[in-house]
């Protein structure tokens, strides 16, 4: 039997940006909050002196502990799924601060187009242009409504940036100016401008100067140490939950984080959640933590899986299209949507080893509404970028394609080109399909005996055509930048989702909208079905735009906490009336 603990005002599952923001806002308002975190107790001190490429960038030390739980993957429903056994690509994290400590820090706003994607596409290209199995939907919130929350997140995280000339309206500038401009960024900007594009400096959560956020937390100036993405910051100069929101929550004395607390169920009766069940993985003891509100902020996978395990909401059924939980998984799959081009320079050397997680420039000339989809064999679009994250030697051995991957020639060329190489990267929007979804795996279990989350994903021509197109555009920029050899990955009809595709930008599963018919949560991330349950994070995105997700996760988390406070202060009930006309 689980040990029943005293009731608290709010229990939060997960301590990343989403959970951290909820913790800070609720505790500041005087509510007692318990955060349950499955991973280790991590503080900034753990990051001091952590410049170890093998440990962090190659073996992914800060990533999820897969001995306890993982995901399984397959392409179609008639296949058995296979578990992801080690840490091959970027996935989600573990421990205090979650993935949000070892992120790179690119912090974008999605486009107004993204939030109203179905309406906008229908309006511009006609209803028939949307394939029948493409389950895009409006988000139930528009950009203008979310703008103040973006602004709030950017100020909490001290984002360094400059206005995107093609971007949506902003109520204020970024709190800090852009980071330093390197030769490669200058070359990218000049080439892009020569081609008529509108590049701007990538908004970064690495600080261009020392900064004090509105909660009074100091984030140090970035010293450009290079060990940034996949590492915690050695200098307290990358905005993460540990140096910001969790610190703010701790100052209030209303906050407790319990580590090694693995949440296995959200407990509930008819229309409310009553708390959560968790196991202390260091003692094996099981606990019940009752609370007035339950906040699930366990990343896309954890959020979706906890709903399925707890039997909250109706699981999505790909055969009938009924049900919501697990629906609309989208991501920037590494082998297709996150691809870029390589440029090799015979006569120019770059200090490629020097960098910062989000040091770069971006352009949006082909993103969302900027691109005319009447002219393309795909919908939506992509951004193009250059970034200088600090190239470390194990992970960066760029060689022209005709070079073997080992032996004399490999050694010679990889040494020669290591500092003579630049990349133009890109990120494309990913649109959901009825055949792509998450559910529980019937074969594989976690250490508690509960089924793992299973991903079923198959690419379509939408993604492949988009990738082919964007690669041509990236090539043109790289040529304009003066590279002697320009090379791109080959995208063929065989390019398919596999375990190497899995990336940290996975979204969907507990999606938002304006009606319970089409969504699990409303725009306060409040479950339609359980009014005191808030499921916060990328899980609520009906699709992922052509940007890294965390700016939008942060904004939606601030929006959600406003709802939580309103709920706790008021008489309960849904914070938003479901839209009538969508009701069956």
């Amino acid at each position: 039997m689980a040990i029943k603990l005293d009731k608290t005002d709010a229990v939060i599952v997960g301590t990343g940006w989403a959970g951290g923001i909820a913790a800070a806002e609720l505790t500041k308002q005087g509510y007692k909050v318990v955060a349950l975190e499955r991973g280790e107790d991590i503080s900034s001190e753990d990051f001091i002196g952590s410049k170890d490429e093998l440990k962090y960038e190659v073996r992914h030390d800060l990533y999820q502990d897969r001995t306890k739980e993982t995901i399984t993957t397959r392409n179609t429903t008639d296949e058995d799924a296979k578990p992801l056994r080690d840490q091959p690509t970027d996935t989600n994290g573990d421990g205090t601060g979650g993935t949000s400590t070892h992120w790179a820090g690119w912090t974008f706003r999605f486009l107004p187009f993204d939030f109203e994607i179905r309406s906008k596409i229908e309006e511009k290209y006609g209803e028939d242009r949307i394939p029948e199995d493409m389950s895009i939907q409006d988000w139930g919130i528009i950009y203008d409504e979310l703008e103040p929350y973006y602004d709030k997140f950017e100020k909490t995280a001290g984002i360094s940036g400059e206005e995107n000339p093609l971007g949506p309206e902003r109520s204020d500038d970024y709190p800090n100016p852009p980071m330093k401009e390197t030769p490669s960024i200058r070359m990218f900007k000049e080439a892009a401008e020569a081609l008529g594009y509108h590049p701007y400096r990538t908004p970064s959560a690495n600080m261009s100067q020392q900064y004090e956020n509105p909660d009074g937390e100091t984030i140090n100036a970035c010293v450009y140490c290079s060990f940034c993405e996949m590492y915690g910051c050695d200098f307290g100069a990358k905005a993460d939950p540990i140096v910001t929101v969790l610190k703010t929550a701790k100052k209030t004395d209303n906050f407790e984080i319990r580590n090694h607390a693995y949440v296995t169920r959200v407990l509930h009766d008819d229309d409310k959640a009553s708390g959560v069940l968790y196991v202390d993985t260091q003692t094996g003891e099981e606990y019940e933590q009752p609370a007035d509100i339950v906040v699930v902020a366990a990343y896309t996978y954890g959020n979706t899986r906890l709903m399925l395990l707890s039997e909250i909401g109706e699981p999505y059924n790909p055969e009938t299209g009924e049900g919501i939980i697990g629906k609309n998984i989208t991501a920037h799959y590494g082998n297709l949507l996150f691809t870029g081009v390589d440029g090799f320079f015979e006569d120019k050397k770059f200090n490629s080893f020097a960098g910062t997680g989000a040091l770069g420039a971006t352009l949006d000339d082909y993103n969302g509404h900027q691109i005319d989809n009447n002219e393309t064999d795909f919908l939506h679009g992509f951004q193009l970028n250059i970034s200088q994250g600090g190239a470390e030697p194990i992970s960066n051995n760029p060689v022209p394609k005709d070079t073997p991957s080992w032996g004399k020639e490999f050694k010679e060329n990889s040494l020669y080109y290591t500092n003579r190489h630049l990349g133009v990267g890109s990120m494309e929007a990913c649109l959901p399909r009825e055949h792509n979804f998450m559910d529980l795996d019937p074969r594989y279990n976690d250490i508690f005996g509960d089924p793992l989350l299973r991903l079923t994903v198959k690419f379509t021509d939408q993604e492949r055509n988009l990738a082919k197109y964007k690669i041509e555009k990236a090539k043109e920029i790289m040529e304009e930048m003066g590279a002697d050899i320009v090379e791109a990955p080959e995208i063929t009809d065989e390019t398919e989702f596999n375990q190497d595709s899995i990336h940290s930008h996975t979204t969907g599963g507990v999606i938002m909208g304006d009606s319970p018919e089409t969504s699990a949560v409303n725009n306060y991330s409040q479950m339609w079905e359980k009014e005191n349950l808030f499921v916060v994070g990328g899980s609520s995105f009906p699709h992922i735009g052509a940007y890294n997700p965390t700016g939008t996760i942060g904004a939606l988390a601030y929006r959600a906490t406003e709802g939580m406070v309103e709920y706790l202060e008021g008489d309960g009930g849904l914070l938003i009336e479901p839209k009538e006309e969508d009701k069956a």
Binding site: K51, D52, L54, K82, E181, V223, P393, G407, N419
Partner: protein, 264 residues
């Protein structure tokens, strides 16, 4: 920050390195070959030690330079590989992947085989940080019920037996071209390795070699940070703020974690 001494250091090292290589290593090898011990299977450590201790001490080995002495690293002994015979196959295989050349040392001189030995002796070799529930499906190394350590042993012995079959000589004594032929067959997925695709094992071997060449020396490879020197990679530098905007390439003497991390 620019390191003027870099080239001199490098030349100095080259000399020392080539000396080491032409010294006892070759004599040892030719002794084993000529004496027939290599073909004869198990040779006790005491016997080898007795035979190879004094008789082959040449002038070079007795008059070691200071830096040669420094290179005798007490952490360089086999932790995972119990059979010397397996380890020498590993040495040669990694050297073919990352060979010594005009740029500088190859895998052996960088300590890559010892790096891999240490990796396999730890969680990497036992897949201890991974999801290990069955059923095991798929042909990749990571999907196998075998651990990485077991797979390495199977593969290295396969390399050796193939070399004996094809060229009538153990892998570590085969010609470079012959060793390459065998490695290429592994790479092409043409070698039968039970439930593991040999091409995926080859990727593991290749990646482990690159890791050993460039990981911080704390892991036992990248000896003297020479992997980093060849790559003009500065290692654990606290800050590049001063050079970020600069057009010129900056060469620095590398720093490893042993100097970077806080110590009492």
């Amino acid at each position: 920050m620019v390191d003027d001494n870099f080239k001199d250091d490098q030349e100095q090292k080259e000399k020392v390195d080539s000396k080491t290589d032409d010294g006892q290593g070759v004599s040892r090898r030719s002794f084993i070959k000529n004496s027939g011990i290599a073909a004869g299977g198990v040779v006790g450590g005491a016997l080898l030690g007795g035979l190879l201790g004094n008789p082959f001490e040449t002038e070079e080995t007795t008059s070691q330079t200071d830096s040669q002495k420094q290179e005798k690293n007490p952490t360089e002994a086999r932790m995972f590989f119990t059979r010397y015979e397996d380890f020498v196959v590993l040495e040669q295989a990694t050297e073919r992947i990352f060979p010594k050349d005009n740029n500088g040392p190859g895998a052996i001189e960088l300590g890559v085989p010892y790096f891999i030995d240490k990796q396999l002796a730890g969680s990497r070799g036992t897949n201890a940080n991974e999801y290990r529930e069955g059923p095991f499906v798929g042909s990749k190394v990571v999907d196998s019920r075998l651990t990485r350590g077991q797979i390495f042993i199977i593969a290295l012995r396969k390399m050796n037996s193939l070399s004996n079959e094809r060229f009538d000589t153990p892998f570590n004594e085969a010609e470079e071209e012959q060793q390459m032929d065998i490695l290429k067959d592994f790479e092409a997925g043409e070698i039968d390795m039970k439930d593991v695709d040999s091409s995926d094992f080859f990727t593991l071997l290749r990646d482990s070699t690159i890791e050993g060449a460039y990981a911080d020396p704390l892991y036992g490879g990248n000896r003297n940070m020479d992997g980093w020197r060849m790559k003009e990679y500065p290692g654990s530098v606290a800050s590049y703020a001063d050079i970020m905007e600069q057009d010129e390439f900056v060469k620095m003497d590398p720093v490893s974690l042993t100097d970077y991390q806080q110590k009492s």
